[in-house]
């Protein structure tokens, strides 16, 4: 088990966004979290990644209790995320977005007198990642088309070489064709790098095609979890997913 939450809770007033959730991720596993709007999927990711503080429960990552760890400590431990809304460095080129992330991973982000262009190993790696994700090099992030912006967001996360990567709707707002393109890049990359992947996703085709295991959330709780086929056949899950 790479990640385990124990009775994790996060309440917003009366809304029990995450309600005693025991969520597990195995090594090199690809887990999809599905559920209707407001089911608590994003909140769960936010609590696991340290964006929000939990109201109760524990988060265990690779055997260590990280419930009260800072964002920085979690990143260093290998928990990385992307965001539902594109969250990139708008004023930097795609290339520099990636290089900033690699530098941070290599603890070189604070070097004042080393020119970023002179670092051939980082430059080479960044170019490889850009190539892998099919992104242009010098275009400013803010000038990229929406699908590429989503990809850049994920690519930056990959550049941090995470052990556990949580992607919050990596395909939201892109066309169906591009959706598959994005997943066809992410999944092999995750398998190759042996990254455990948690994906929040709405598109059932994607969920069924690409995940090893599916976790269904409803009203802050885990309603059901299982293999794609089990989820597909489960009537209660069907009802919740179809009608909320």
């Amino acid at each position: 088990m790479i990640l385990e939450t124990q009775n994790l809770r996060k309440y917003f007033g009366e809304v029990h966004a995450v309600d005693n959730v025991n969520f597990k991720v195995k090594e090199e596993e690809i887990v999809a979290i599905i559920g209707p709007n407001g089911a608590g999927k994003t909140t769960l990711v936010n609590v696991i990644t340290g964006y929000l503080k939990p109201d109760g429960g524990k988060i265990i990552f690779m055997g260590k209790d990280i419930t009260n760890a800072s964002i920085y400590e979690r990143i260093r431990a290998g928990i990385v995320r992307s965001f539902q809304l594109v969250n990139i460095f708008e004023g930097l080129s795609a290339f520099d977005n990636i290089r900033v992330a690699i530098n941070s991973r290599e603890r070189k982000e604070g070097k004042i007198f080393s020119l970023i262009d002179r670092d051939t190993t980082v430059t080479k790696e960044a170019l490889q990642i850009l190539d892998l994700f099919g992104l242009p090099k010098d275009t400013l992030a803010r000038d990229l088309p929406h699908g590429d912006r989503k990809l850049l967001d994920v690519a930056t996360a990959f550049a941090l070489k995470p052990k556990l990567l949580l992607l919050d709707e990596p395909t939201s707002g892109v066309s169906t064709r591009e959706k598959n393109k994005i997943m066809d890049v992410i999944i092999p990359a995750a398998r190759k790098e042996k990254v455990s992947l948690v994906v929040i996703e709405h598109d059932m085709d994607i969920v069924f095609n690409y995940s090893d295991r599916i976790v269904v959330m409803h009203q802050g709780k885990i309603l059901f979890e299982g293999k794609p086929d089990e989820v597909r056949e489960h009537t209660e899950v069907k009802r919740v997913l179809l009608v909320g």
């Binding site: 209707p36 407001g38 707002g173 066309s175 709405h202 085709d205 997913l241 179809l242 909320g244």
Partner: protein, 234 residues
């Protein structure tokens, strides 16, 4: 029946991103129309465009037969369009009765009159008039926001995810409230992410995805469209 609201071929952008593509909808007088779609599908953008809170690139919006496409928001409100934003737009600093007053000052109807009307809808609001917005619960916020909108004496209400985050019992209650409002002569246009709830309240249903209307028709019949349901659920 006459059309109270008609939106024709609306195109709206947020920054470089197109959020509405050739959207056309209409609401008849005395009708509840709902629009369903996932988060980010364009529901809020549509409602904001109708209210004049987002600039329209092309297309037209008619209210009671008048072209309001270029009218400022407050003029639209004065024509009788009430608006409930997704967070209810509660002012933490003001009491419920002060919030209601901000609407009354525009419509000119009396405080007694509006108190009578809203206590018929929500008997418990009597105890809330002097409470500040900051201390209202989720359900109370909705009561306050609906009361404020009614203080404008509107003929038409725009609701953006009015049921989001409510407990099931409160949901049923507010669906009841909407039907009450319809009875007293209002037309409603409601954005909703939950298809079942939308079909429970609406006379007509639209579905939106990626800024495009992908369904228009009978709320009950949408469940027959397996493909459609897959797109809009969640």
């Amino acid at each position: 029946m006459a059309k109270i609201l008609e939106v024709k071929n609306l195109n709206v952008f947020r920054g470089p991103l197109q959020v509405l593509r050739d959207v056309s909808i209409s609401v008849e007088e005395g009708e509840i129309v709902a629009i369903v779609g996932r988060n980010g599908a364009g529901k809020t953008s549509l409602i904001k465009s109708i209210m004049g809170l987002l600039p329209v690139k092309s297309g037209k919006i008619f209210f009671k037969g008048k072209d309001i496409t270029n009218l400022p928001t407050h003029e639209r409100a004065k024509m009788g369009i009430g608006y409930l934003p997704d967070d209810m737009g509660i002012i933490p600093d003001l009491t419920v009765s002060e919030m209601i007053k901000t609407g009354l000052w525009v419509s000119g109807i009396s405080m007694d009159e509006i108190k009578k009307r809203v206590t018929e809808l929500f008997p418990e609001i009597k105890d809330l008039f002097n409470r500040r917005g900051l201390y209202l619960s989720g359900g109370e916020k909705r009561m306050a926001a609906i009361s404020r909108a009614l203080a404008l004496n509107p003929t038409f209400l725009l609701l953006d995810e009015a049921l989001e985050g409510l407990a099931p019992i409160a949901v049923s209650r507010f669906i009841g409230t909407m039907k009450e409002l319809k009875k007293i002569g209002l037309s409603l246009f409601a954005a909703e992410s939950n298809v079942v709830l939308a079909s429970r309240m609406a006379d007509k249903l639209y579905a939106i995805e990626r800024g495009e209307i992908i369904y228009e028709g009978d709320p009950k019949k949408i469940f027959e469209h397996e493909e459609l349901m897959r797109i809009i659920r969640g």
